[in-house]
Amino acid sequence: MAEFLINGFLIFLLAIIAVVAIRSIKIFSTVMLAGAYSLICAIIFVSLDAVDVAFTEAAVGAGLSTVLYIAAMRHLPKREKVVNDNTIFALIVCFGVGCLLIWASFDLPVIGDPMAPIHQHVGPYYISNTKPDMGIPNLVTGVLASYRGYDTLGETVVIFTAGLGVLLLLGDGKNRDKNE
């Protein structure tokens, strides 16, 4: 019951933050609300026992992307343009897709169900072999760094490439502000 109350409260907060962030026309407050949204997401991940994901979400989603948004905000106007388009069609599409997603979620296995398909594949192998193979208690690190070392190498190269791409786009030396 307590768990249900906590999760319900967090989801409720998420919904409120999302609505306020969409309604707000000040870009600064939208950016800060996006950070708060990520932080609440991180708390939900903690309550789902996914500490590593929660850590990443808190550090990247709530911390760094907020700072990057603020850095990028210098080039934007302070307020959003208010557009009075006809939003009926968008509303219908969003409502329809939302209903479909909720309908599809009834087919998902219950959270923590040991018989769920995802726990029948390679999961048991990792759980029983990480300690004998590597002698480390954190399964996530074991899978990420060793069993799936190729994937992590790929991710690192993706991040590197992203940095390189931004460097090529913005860092050509002509448009830089050297005096700040």
Binding site: F55, A71, I159
Partner: protein, 141 residues
């Protein structure tokens, strides 16, 4: 650049512990939550906080753009290099078991090294992203 003395003093106090916590997350990734990715972001956040308060120029005095590029390249090379070392010792690419006499010990060393590589790359990329975004002047100026 911020002239508020409270922010400046607090930043001076807090930047060190943030970076120290990043290193803790980096090297305790095998035992607790965290790892190279999170650690890189935390260390970069420490330096970004410094640059936010004391200005980009001061931040570039700590880590110059060349050093920053070097760090992000070194991370990828370290990761890939560990794989090449295991090929050199007649094992599969990125098979760390060969890196020491004991399989477990080898895995430990391998995981530590590649997590450090990930941390370096992530920290370097995040820092350079921040500096590029905030020092960009726009096309029409």
């Amino acid at each position: 650049m911020n002239d508020d003395p409270i922010l400046r003093v607090c930043t001076k106090i807090i930047v060190g512990p943030i970076i120290l916590f990043g290193l803790y997350v980096q090297f305790h990734g095998d035992y607790g939550p965290g790892g190279g990715f999170q650690a890189g972001v935390i260390v970069a956040a420490g330096f970004i906080l410094h640059s936010l308060i004391f200005g980009l120029k001061e931040g570039r005095k700590l880590i110059s753009e060349k050093l920053n590029l070097f760090i992000m390249i070194l991370g990828v090379i370290l990761y890939g290099g560990v794989g090449l070392v295991s090929i050199y010792y007649d094992a599969e690419y990125l098979n760390y078991s060969i890196l020491a006499h004991d399989t477990k010990h080898g895995q430990h060393i391998g995981i530590l090294l590649i997590e450090f590589g990930v941390g370096l790359t992530v920290a370097g990329v995040m820092l350079i992203l921040f500096h590029l975004f905030s020092s960009w002047q726009g096309k029409d100026k």
